[in-house]
Amino acid sequence: MRPVIFIVAAVAVMGLAFWAYRENYATQVALKDVSRLQAEIADLREALAVQRAEWAYLNRPARLRELTDANFDRLGLLPLEPGQFGQIGQVAYPTADLPKITSPVDVIGTREEAFP
């Protein structure tokens, strides 16, 4: 019985050692991967920051004003004016297509304000 236990224990130790060896290298590969990815993330973040700065730079009010002035004949953009605010009631209700009038009828209407 005893030799069997020794042999099983020895095999188990060898198996575990092999597993630990592989895990060690797998961990190192994963760590390398992580640091590479982090470098990539940092690069992308930097690029993002540059692009955000560039977006802000290209959309600066002074430049937009120059562009609207330069392209006035094509775009015709003017500053927002108070008169451009509308009421919802001023928007025309989409008209349903009326059916064709086949038999005309005479209608007599009275305006209400004519008879107070």
Binding site: A49, R60, L80, Q84
Partner: protein
């Protein structure tokens, strides 16, 4: 364990037979038993002590070993932890209230040299001078060859310059990464942002520190690593700020002014939506402060915050509002306004020697901007109460706005407060404050009488203000301001749909030597509130030394200079603020229909 009896019968009988005392045997046995108990207890205690000793030794050994390992090992960043944005940016961005970028960081490089590694100092110096026109080839060559081992050549490089320096290919030239503060909008809101520069510099990085404006005032917040990835949102609205600056700049040129300032503020929260001061500068390339002359003429000078001027008649509404609050007058009370008024050796005149008297109603004092009428009202209030009221409006202290310049701009208040000061202060002479002070005070009136603290931070928690005048008085005061525009001195300030109300102010500049005033140098101010039927915004426009020259003789009153500019600012800015123009309802004429 066998328990031996204390009085074993056999020995007792024996002892009795021998005529001895059997108690001796019992005592002997008792002693033996106690000794055994003692021995057992001692050995157990010794075992416990040993166990504790081993445990403590192991614990201390473990701690000691860990400390040793920690002190001997190299520090290393944890590799597995996720990286945050703050690793990249050491200074938080600044955005406007809608998240549009006002200040951000860019990664660039600094150029330094180690002349000992240089192959060709002379050629390198010449090539560098060709890339950077501001460098001198001879100076550079001298510095490369005078034996020093290190020198900075350029603090920031553009990518093109970096490439050009790379192409020189000298091994003695090195690049250090630099984080540079960038203001993508150029001159926009320059005085708010201030600027930034490098603090402590090293080869691998440099500290970025704020030098002025909000960059310096909020330096600790912007550099806080814990909040590095959260931008600082200002109350400024980029679009509104741009429109205000554009109109103000055009107005300044048209009115031949040497400077201008504007403050647009939300009356409910005290958030400043636009703060402009002209002339301005580019914070990316902040100019040097003036060494000679008046620092007030430098573009760095923030007229809206630092410019402490006598603001003239715009102060009149404070005296009137206080008198209404104290119940001394009502809007229809007639007050003596017979000009000129004599007080001791002083003579108080109206504008251009007019006389609006002999009696004016309180409403008309504001509409016509009568100095004499206001003076009489102020005398009714008295100096002590007047001072307390102006103090409660914040006129005696520096504004609490988040700019490094603000605490230095204290209003100029006379030390003593005799009656003549009560009179002059009531119409804004002898007391000087900044346009921002005026904005805060007008916001208090427009906010229904509750004080407002000006702030540049969006959605910052603010303590509720204190009530200084009642809602009724505030409404009456705003109504009087509306009257000034509809039929008073600011008739050019009317913007259809926005029911602008406001008060003009024209103050002559005091002479440098403190003796009297310069006649043809004035500061024109228009303090306005809109829309008056439900006040939401306060706009202050100040022009420095304007003159309007379309008429036969030059005009220097606010009604001709600051008011049209302010009206144009409101016309442009109000739609951008989402304010819908409202048609003012004229009270219908009562018509009696008689049926026949």
């Amino acid at each position: 364990m066998t328990r031996t009896p204390l009085r074993p019968l056999a020995r007792i009988l024996q002892a009795r037979a021998a005529g001895e005392n059997p108690d001796v045997i019992e005592r002997e046995n008792l002693r033996v038993r106690h000794e055994e108990i003692q021995d057992r207890a001692r050995s157990r205690a010794e075992g416990r002590l040993l166990f504790m000793g081993v445990v403590f030794f192991a614990a201390f050994a473990l701690i000691g070993a860990r400390m040793g390992v920690l002190s001997a090992s190299q520090p290393e960043e944890p590799k597995i932890a996720a990286s945050g944005a703050q690793i990249l940016a050491q200074r938080a961005d600044i955005t406007d209230r809608n998240g549009r970028v006002l200040a951000t960081n860019m990664l660039t490089h600094a150029l330094y040299a180690q002349p000992r590694d240089m192959v060709d100092p002379k050629g390198t110096a010449a090539k560098l001078a060709k890339i950077f026109p501001d460098l001198n080839a001879d100076t550079l060559e001298r510095r490369f060859t005078d034996g020093r081992s290190f020198l900075w050549v350029k603090k920031v490089l553009s990518p093109e310059q970096l490439q050009a320096v790379h192409e020189i290919g000298d091994p003695g030239l090195y690049f250090g990464p630099r984080e540079m503060r960038l203001y993508p909008n150029g001159k926009l809101a320059a005085h708010v942002l201030g600027g930034a520069s490098f603090g402590a510099e090293g080869v691998n990085s440099a500290e970025v520190i704020g030098t002025a404006g909000i960059e310096k005032a909020m330096d600790a917040r912007l550099r806080d690593p814990a909040q590095g990835d959260q931008p600082l949102a200002l109350s400024i609205d980029l679009t509104v700020q741009a429109a205000v600056e554009e109109v103000l700049s055009a107005g300044m040129i048209m009115m031949n002014a040497k400077g201008a300032a504007a403050v647009l503020m939300d009356v409910k929260t005290g958030e400043i939506l636009a703060l402009a001061s002209l002339p301005d500068f580019d914070p990316n390339d902040r100019p040097q402060p003036l060494l000679i002359g008046d620092p007030g003429d430098s573009p760095l000078f923030n007229r809206a915050v630092q410019g402490v001027y006598e603001l003239g008649s715009t102060f009149k509404i404070f005296a009137i509002a206080q008198a209404l609050e104290l119940g001394l007058v009502n809007p229809e009370t007639l007050v003596d306004a017979n000009a000129p008024m004599y007080w001791g050796k002083f003579k108080i005149n109206e504008f251009e020697g007019h006389n609006y008297g002999p009696k004016l109603s309180v409403t008309d004092i504001i509409t016509k901007s009568s100095n004499v009428g206001t003076a009489h009202v102020a005398l009714m209030i008295g100096g002590l109460r007047q001072q307390a009221f102006l103090k409660s409006l914040g006129m005696f202290d520096a504004t609490p706005v988040e700019l490094i310049e603000a605490p230095g701009a204290r209003p100029i208040i006379p030390k003593r407060w005799p009656d003549i000061v009560t009179i002059t202060a009531s119409y804004g002479h002898g007391v000087a404050a900044s346009p921002l002070h005026l904005a805060a005070a007008y916001a208090t009136i427009a906010n229904g009488g509750i004080t407002v603290k000006p702030t540049l931070l969006h959605n910052a928690p603010h303590a509720p203000g204190i009530r200084v005048i009642s809602q009724t008085v505030a409404t009456q005061a705003v109504g009087m301001l509306r009257n000034v525009v509809t039929k008073g001195t600011a008739s050019m300030g009317d913007v259809p749909g926005y029911a602008v109300g406001g008060k003009t102010g024209t103050a002559e500049k005091p002479r440098r030597n403190g003796r009297g005033y310069i006649k043809d140098k004035v500061v024109n101010t228009f303090a306005s509130v809109f829309p008056t039927n439900n006040p939401q915004y306060v706009l202050i426009v100040t022009l420095d030394e304007p003159v309007e020259t379309t008429g036969p003789k030059p005009r220097r009153t606010a009604g001709w200079t600051a008011v049209p500019v302010a009206a144009e600012v409101i016309r442009r800015a109000a739609p951008l603020l989402g304010l819908r123009p409202e048609v003012e309802v004229v009270p219908a004429q009562a018509i009696t229909v008689s049926a026949n």
